[in-house]
């Protein structure tokens, strides 16, 4: 076993094996923290957009129309965004596990906690602030992809479905009519 010790010490003395500088690890942690923050902000934004999309398209009102309404709800729910968001939250969970405190919490609990936090924050941003409505109003002046995102947020085909169910018109609904004297 002394052979192993001497072999390693020889490599250290000759400079073949060197210590990584402390700055390397400081930068590594900083990069992880920054990446974690970016992922958190993006996932909160996406969930906020999901809530906004449900609100302006009145997708949630479909649930009040029985099984046909539920089917329509499943059709119009923004599933792609939800999948992207859950993927981001899973990435965030992995990032947190790179730190010692992250390993003390069971996987499902950490994931559930992060999902709840992003869902809640996203919902609060949409319902309690004019953030989404303001962006929607000025969507033409927004850089991509936000311009397209907010420009196409409203899906008028849902209006036809809702009218078919006998739902009252929403604020954004457009009705064609002929004026008579």
């Amino acid at each position: 076993m002394d052979n192993l010790k001497e072999k390693i010490l020889k490599e250290i003395r000759s400079g073949q094996v060197t210590m990584r500088p402390r700055a390397y690890f400081v930068l590594q942690v900083a990069a992880l923290v920054l990446l974690g923050f970016v992922v958190l902000v993006v996932s909160v934004f996406i969930f906020n957009f999901i809530v906004f999309s449900i609100r302006i398209n009145r997708v949630d009102t479909l649930l009040g129309f029985g099984p046909r309404g539920w089917g329509a709800f499943v059709r119009f729910f923004p599933w792609m965004w939800l999948i992207v968001d859950v993927t981001l939250v899973t990435l965030l969970e992995w990032l947190l596990r790179q730190f010692r405190f992250g390993n003390k919490i069971p996987v499902l609990y950490l994931l559930a906690g992060l999902l709840c936090m992003t869902v809640l924050t996203g919902a609060v941003v949409d319902r309690a602030t004019p953030f989404n409505d303001s962006l929607r109003e000025m969507h033409a002046g927004l850089p991509p992809p936000f311009g397209d995102l907010y420009g196409h947020a409203r899906h008028h085909d849902i209006d036809d479905v809702l009218r078919g169910f006998g739902a009252p018109p929403g604020a954004d609904d457009v009705y064609s009519a002929t004026t008579t004297e």
């Binding site: 010790k5 010692r100 069971p106």
Partner: protein
């Protein structure tokens, strides 16, 4: 071999530039990691090479070690990763979900086993360790041979402490099942 300094004090000297002090860490941990490797991997070959890589990796990353923490779990963590990679290369097993870590388990205090119970368990382990799955082998080796408390094992395996307790319990049950019925 200097026995007066703690591991963490020695690492602080290494971090400050005393490269030769790493020799003391090698003296203290080489035999332990080789034993850990033999028992975890349940085979004889290439343990020395893996242990050499472990110490090289430890030296390269020594500046990331926080000297207010214990060195032992940190070093065993590096060894654990190296041994797990070696196992994966040999078995080509697909990635599997570790269900133990998904939910919380009650945190048991380390059970106060008598000296005799511990001796009997080590004897059973010598007979049946190679019959167990790696995740059960490892927790038994860390607890009974490396004599680590649950907290340190949790740090090595990077799982919650409750998971260590449950895994140890299941490992002992699996060991009893794996051994012939007439074993005491």
């Amino acid at each position: 071999m200097d026995t007066t300094e703690t591991d963490e004090q020695i690492v602080a000297r290494i971090q400050a530039g005393d490269k030769e002090a790493f020799g003391t860490i090698l003296d203290r941990y080489e035999a332990k990691l080789v034993r850990y490797g033999h028992k975890f991997l349940a085979r004889q070959e290439d343990i020395q090479d893996i242990v050499q890589d472990v110490f090289v990796s430890a030296y390269q990353n020594i500046q990331s070690f926080d000297t207010t923490q214990k060195l032992s779990p940190w070093l065993y963590r590096i060894a654990h990763n190296a041994f797990v990679n070696a196992l994966r290369k040999k078995s080509r097993a697909p990635l599997s979900i570790d269900f133990d870590t998904l939910v919380s388990h009650p945190v048991y205090d380390d059970p106060a086993e008598s000296e005799r119970e511990q001796r009997d368990m080590r004897a059973m382990l010598d007979k049946g360790l190679d019959k167990l799955a790696p995740k059960y082998r490892e927790v038994l080796v860390l607890y009974y041979f490396e004599e680590m408390p649950y907290k340190d094992i949790a740090e090595v395996l990077q799982v919650p402490q409750g998971t260590v307790g449950i895994r140890l319990r299941r490992a002992k049950e699996a060991l009893k099942e794996a051994l012939p019925k007439n074993h005491g």
